[in-house]
């Protein structure tokens, strides 16, 4: 679990507020980046130097080709003719641009509308995750009722259950909500609400709230602040970095959702782009329009990642620490 302490404390340091005390098991000098397997003296040896350079160059080329390559290709394919894409997929770099494809995909293939749905779904799912996870983490970390351990156990238990057990019954729940007797089928709630039950985010947030010094909350309490004010004035402002990470990962996560929205949103007017795309591919729309649609689907999360890479990478590293 020590894996998680480092990124978390470093995110806490990044916050405007005073430093949260680092809760490390043993004081560790911050030389983690100073050396890995290869020592400084190794690096001075010509053979090691040459090998390192070769390996790192090959790695860079491999990463560019495999990471960036498909995206760049999709970008160019989105403005190429179907003929060029089919006959010589590697030669499309030199064919004339056909900007009309993007417009055709946006309007003709209704990618614009389904992208709008994706945005609405991602925003709602993120909000629902945030509300439920913050409430749960605040409850378990700060309010600590007597029955807290029971709730905490029940939430964490869901982490260990493979998603497959609850998949079909969850669908039936959406069709006919027990006790309420309403169907959420073909409403955005069918995607938003289940997204709230994210045990993983509860664990991450609770861990972070635990690291906030109690003195702040005690002081607020003495000044007459109730739990709600402590949450909004003390805890949330101090947790901005971790909340940002959860928001980013949740947006991208819900952008990638495919099976669940396909099942609960059968109305094409409500379907997100991830459900629309496969249908487009099996339909008879030209390849160029398909590629334009693919590009339009990819571009928003990629731009989001390009802007917030640091938060993404730190967040994923933290996530691994919790899983460990």
């Amino acid at each position: 679990m020590s894996v998680v302490d480092k990124p978390l404390t470093s995110t806490a340091d990044a916050a405007e507020g005073p430093k949260a005390p680092a809760r490390r098991r043993a004081p560790r000098p911050d030389d983690a980046k100073e050396r890995g397997v290869i020592s400084a003296s190794d690096r001075k040896r010509p053979a090691v130097k040459a090998w390192l350079r070769i390996v790192q160059t090959i790695l860079l080329i491999v990463l560019i080709v495999s990471g960036l390559g498909p995206l760049l290709w999709a970008a160019k394919a989105s403005i190429s003719s179907s003929n060029a894409i089919v006959s010589d997929p590697m030669g499309i770099w030199f064919t004339p641009n056909e900007w009309g494809n993007l417009l055709l995909a946006w309007n003709g293939a209704r990618i614009g509308q389904s992208l709008g749905n994706t945005v609405v779904l991602a925003a709602g799912s993120t909000l629902s995750t945030l509300i439920v996870s913050v409430a749960a983490a605040f409850l378990l970390s700060v309010l600590r009722p007597k029955w807290g351990p029971w709730l905490s156990g029940a939430i964490i238990a869901t982490l260990f259950l493979p998603g497959v057990v609850s998949f079909v019954p969850l669908y039936l729940t959406i069709l006919d909500m027990p006790l309420l007797n309403v169907s959420l089928q073909d409403t955005f709630w069918a995607v938003w609400l289940p997204a709230g039950a994210s045990a993983f985010n509860v664990v991450v947030l609770k861990r972070f709230f635990d690291s906030i010094p109690r003195e702040y909350m005690e002081a607020a309490k003495i000044d007459g602040a109730g739990p709600m004010r402590i949450l909004t004035m003390v805890v949330l402002p101090l947790s901005r970095p971790i909340l940002g990470v959860i928001v980013l990962l949740s947006i991208v996560g819900s952008w990638k959702e495919f099976l669940w929205p396909m099942l609960v949103l059968s109305n094409p007017d409500l379907q997100p782009v991830s459900v629309m795309l496969p249908r487009l591919a099996t339909g008879n729309s030209p390849l160029s329009v398909q590629m334009a649609a693919v590009f339009l689907t990819i571009i928003i999360p990629v731009v989001l990642f390009a802007v917030f890479q640091k938060q993404f990478l730190r967040g994923v590293g933290t996530a691994g620490g919790v899983k460990g």
Partner: protein, 310 residues
């Protein structure tokens, strides 16, 4: 409640006093915070799990009331001639992903961790595939896997005099093709987790090993990997659990074909539930798979625990 009659009013008074004290002490607030949490988890997490267990012993078509059929769904599912093939395929996918896919992020992480410059660039490039929505990526890859000589991958391999390969169109290369895609899609984000873990490796150990004259390879083998051991074990279990529940990739790439070569257990569950409308059979198979994965996790935990302490 077991008190004598005259003690009862006092007890009631004390109880009411407890209640107000409880509310003033923040108990009420705790309940208010718990309401949305419990509702969402009850409806969308705990409830469906319990309902799944119940449904697996029932026959229901959503119109008539459900009736109990005992182990009927389980015997039906286990007798399905397609189950063996689906299980073998799923196991094959898990095995291929473990042998060829699993080491990739570890190697990537160790290499990136040795960078002294531009490591964020490498990280970002490696993570990019994880950002791309799988549906869009699969559509692209499906096109790359075009079995014609003019297909993307076949064109590139053709430059080196290889191919053309049938990729998704042949029974024996369809599953490896899906594994290749899955590795591309997953390696980057897993590598980031290993990189975070590598930052905690104790560097004194490297220095000690250097004094003992250990070369770079031996340091990786005897220090880096053992220090990562626990993370590796957890990631391996998570990957196995994940690969046994593979759905989107075969569903979109091949739909289970060619000739059922990529039919997986989750595809079967999907077909039971949403093609045949047999929710009982679908949940029964889900429960079986979950039980298998649970058992696997327990065995795995005890086996790796012995290795960890050894």
């Amino acid at each position: 409640m077991t008190k004598t009659l005259d003690a009862a009013p006092a007890a009631r008074r004390r109880k009411r006093g407890n209640l107000t004290r409880w509310a003033q002490g923040g108990g009420l607030h705790a309940v208010l915070f718990a309401v949305p949490v419990v509702l969402v988890y009850a409806y969308f997490s705990w409830g469906p799990v319990i309902q799944g267990l119940i449904l697996s012993f029932q026959k229901t078509n959503l119109i008539q009331p459900a009736e109990w059929v005992g182990w009927g769904n389980f015997t039906y599912v286990l007798a399905d001639p397609g189950l063996v093939q689906a299980s073998l395929n799923t196991g094959y996918f898990a095995l291929l992903a473990l042998v060829f896919g699993f080491p990739v992020p570890i190697i990537l992480a160790v290499l990136i961790n040795e960078l002294r410059k531009y490591d964020t660039l490498y990280n970002a490039l490696a993570y990019l595939p994880a950002i791309v929505p799988p549906v869009a990526a699969i559509l692209l890859w499906k096109f790359f896997y075009d079995p014609d000589a003019t297909g993307m991958f076949n064109t590139v391999l053709g430059w080196f005099g290889l191919g053309p390969f049938p990729w998704l169109n042949a029974e024996n290369s369809a599953m490896p093709s899906i594994v290749l895609y899955a590795t591309w899609a997953g390696a980057g984000s897993t590598a980031i987790i290993y990189i975070a873990a590598l930052a905690t490796v104790r560097t004194e150990l490297y220095e000690a090993a250097e004094i003992d004259g250990a070369g770079i390879w031996r340091r990786i083998w005897h220090i880096t990997l053992p220090q990562l051991r626990n993370v590796i074990f957890v990631m391996m279990l998570l990957q196995i659990i994940g690969t046994f529940q593979i759905f989107t990739e075969p569903f979109l790439f091949t739909g289970g074909g060619p000739n059922n070569a990529t039919q997986t257990i989750l595809l079967k569950i999907y077909n039971y539930a949403f093609i045949n409308g047999d929710f009982g059979a679908a949940t029964a198979l889900s429960v079986l798979l979950a039980a298998f994965l649970g058992l696997l996790s327990v065995v795995y935990y005890f086996v790796t625990k012995r290795w960890s302490t050894a």
